[in-house]
């Protein structure tokens, strides 16, 4: 008998979740998750079809052709923009979580924790264009004109609060007494970090890395001001779509989607094979 105080249950005298058998519950869950995955993935999958479509405008695809991919391979500025986006994303996914990690470690030692968190969250609210513009102004004042570093700084600044908050969430399970115990047992701070803290916050760090990569790859409004003429994919696509029919940008979108599916599919396949191997062993 359930001592649950859920009002619904009290009213109904039973818990609604026991009405369903486990099997149908499982099916409902799967359907629910599948629906949302489909919802999120619908635009990218459609982009793949659009990239193969015969028409050069956006419509429900009805044809099949590789013409856009051809154009994509010929388009040097597009490929340059993609390289640049990737480079910036890699830099951001290393720098932002690193800085965030240091910040989180310092956070644990401060007394003004609320102020600290608040100060980390506040910059998130600065509108992208204004942040980009003010950074540009700063760079001009100090006479800095290197495009890649300027854009990278903009991206890292943008991703940092995200990484910080995410790592902070996972850091919450690291308890002070465990750290004290580790120190008592003779570990210095670096060892404590490496052997005690890091394993526990690994999911958080991985999430922060993924977040930073994704945020940097998609970053538009700040990049516009800081790129100094060197386009990234978002700014290039934007400019191109204003000017003229640009089928090749759809091709590159389609390509990245297909590649990511392949990678994740491969990962799942590998996991499946290794688990079935374990089963047979």
């Amino acid at each position: 008998m359930s001592t649950s105080s859920s009002r619904l249950s009290a009213v109904l005298r039973t818990d609604p979740t026991v009405w369903l058998s486990d099997v149908s519950k499982d099916r409902l869950w799967k359907a629910f998750i599948a629906f949302w995955i489909l919802f999120i993935l619908a635009p990218p999958i459609m982009l793949v079809f659009i990239s193969l479509d015969t028409a050069s405008y956006v419509r429900v695809p009805q044809g099949l052709t590789l013409a856009k991919y051809d154009l994509m391979l010929q388009s040097e500025p597009l490929i340059t923009a993609m390289e640049r986006s990737l480079k910036l994303a890699v830099v951001t996914m290393i720098a932002a979580p690193l800085l965030a990690l240091l910040a989180v470690l310092s956070y644990r030692k401060t007394t003004y924790k609320a102020l600290f968190v608040g100060a980390m969250i506040l910059p998130l609210f600065v509108p992208g264009v204004v942040q980009g513009f003010s950074l540009l102004m700063l760079f001009k004042q100090i006479g800095f004109g290197q495009a890649f570093v300027a854009t990278a700084i903009g991206h890292v600044i943008w991703a940092f609060p995200f990484a910080f908050l995410v790592i902070l969430t996972s850091m919450s399970t690291v308890r002070d007494d465990v750290l004290l115990a580790s120190a008592d047992l003779g570990a210095n701070e670096f060892e404590t970090f490496r052997h005690v803290i890091l394993p526990q916050i690994r999911p958080g760090v991985i999430s922060a890395v993924i977040f930073s990569f994704v945020l940097s790859f998609n970053e538009f409004s700040r990049t516009v001001f800081l790129q100094f003429g060197q386009n990234t994919i978002p700014t290039y696509v934007f400019a191109k779509l204003q000017v003229e029919l640009s089928p090749e940008v759809f091709a590159i979108a389609g390509l990245t989607v297909v590649l990511s599916f392949v990678l994740i599919g491969a990962a799942i396949a590998v996991l499946y094979r290794s688990s079935s191997q374990e089963a047979t062993e």
Partner: protein, 316 residues
């Protein structure tokens, strides 16, 4: 949390300090480690200086510019409230409130739909190793350009798009539904598709941190899954949910693509207004609007601190 190594530890040696921990460090940085204050400041320095220079300095500049006197091609430093006036006296203030409202709507939608997804991944299926790759699927859209993603919604929502075609074919409707596209509905749909993952990931992270034992204990005590969710999962994952809410809300505040492409001129968000101001070289106006947004954010943070406490984000 500086640990004082001068207390005698270890066995046997009662007359002095145990330096074995330090001795495992390379000689070069040993003096650094000894001095606690130095070590702490080294930890703080990199990110604090970067943040200070590139985040907080421009933040202060925004407030300064917001009271600057606008000139035809720029501005002059000074003090005037005309920028704020231009904001409050015009359609812009309505747009601001619309944006806040849409932000709340998006947070609500993301919570309602994101929570179960995170629960599934973080609690129900936490032991399955397929969970991680599956969740990664939610990140795939972000590897394509935001504009293209939004444009592809047009092929779903348009008069001859996927949804209308299916409905027409099934005979449910006689004429294509016009409100699917170039409407507030389309904007909300587009934004949800973009920001749902921002809620899912922190919530998932928070839920996966909940100890197995606690969940088992709750079940042992006779709690149904629903009760466990209500009394155990939700309270413990609130920090993650709050962070997800912040990400989603911030996203809406900065959203300028979706309303333009999918809104049909029926809905406009504050980021577009700010963009317009910057591109008409009206920086003081743009700064004033940004200052209002920031003040609103401060108010939010204060409310958060008062109601729940900001530091609980970092504690379990």
């Amino acid at each position: 949390m500086a640990h004082d190594n001068s207390n005698p530890t270890g066995s046997g040696d009662r007359s002095g300090v145990d330096f074995s921990a330090q001795q495992r460090l390379p000689a070069v940085i040993r003096p650094l480690v000894d001095n606690d204050r130095l070590r702490f400041s080294l930890q703080v320095l990199p990110w604090l200086s970067i943040l200070g220079l590139f985040v907080f300095l421009p933040l202060a500049a925004i407030f300064v510019w917001s009271v600057a006197i606008p000139q035809p091609f720029g501005f002059e430093l000074g003090f005037t409230l005309e920028n704020y006036q231009a904001f409050f006296d015009s359609y812009r203030v309505d747009t601001f409130w619309t944006t806040i409202k849409e932000g709340v709507v998006q947070v609500a939608l993301a919570l309602v739909f994101g929570f179960p997804i995170a629960y599934y991944a973080g609690v129900l299926k936490r032991d399955s190793k397929y969970t991680f790759p599956l969740m990664l699927l939610f990140a795939i859209p972000f590897l394509t350009s935001y504009i293209l993603r939004t444009l592809s919604w047009i092929s779903f929502l348009g008069s001859d798009g996927v949804f209308n075609s299916i409905l027409l074919f099934a005979g449910v409707i006689n004429e294509p539904l016009g409100w699917l596209l170039y409407s507030t509905f389309a904007v909300r749909l587009g934004m949800l598709a973009s920001y749902l993952p921002f809620m899912i990931f922190p919530a998932w992270l928070a839920m996966s941190r909940i100890d197995d034992e606690i969940l088992h204990a709750s079940a042992d005590l006779g709690g149904s899954p629903l009760a466990t969710i209500r009394h155990v999962v939700i309270p413990l994952s609130i920090p993650g949910l709050l962070i997800g809410a912040v990400f989603v809300f911030v996203g809406v505040l900065g959203e300028s693509v979706v309303p333009v492409l999918l809104g049909g001129g029926n809905i406009s968000l504050i980021a577009t207004i700010i963009d317009n101001a910057v591109n008409s070289a009206r920086l003081p106006l743009a700064s004033a609007i940004s200052a209002i947004v920031l003040l609103f954010a401060v108010a939010l943070l204060l409310a958060w601190e008062y109601v729940y406490g900001l530091k609980t984000v970092g504690e379990i």
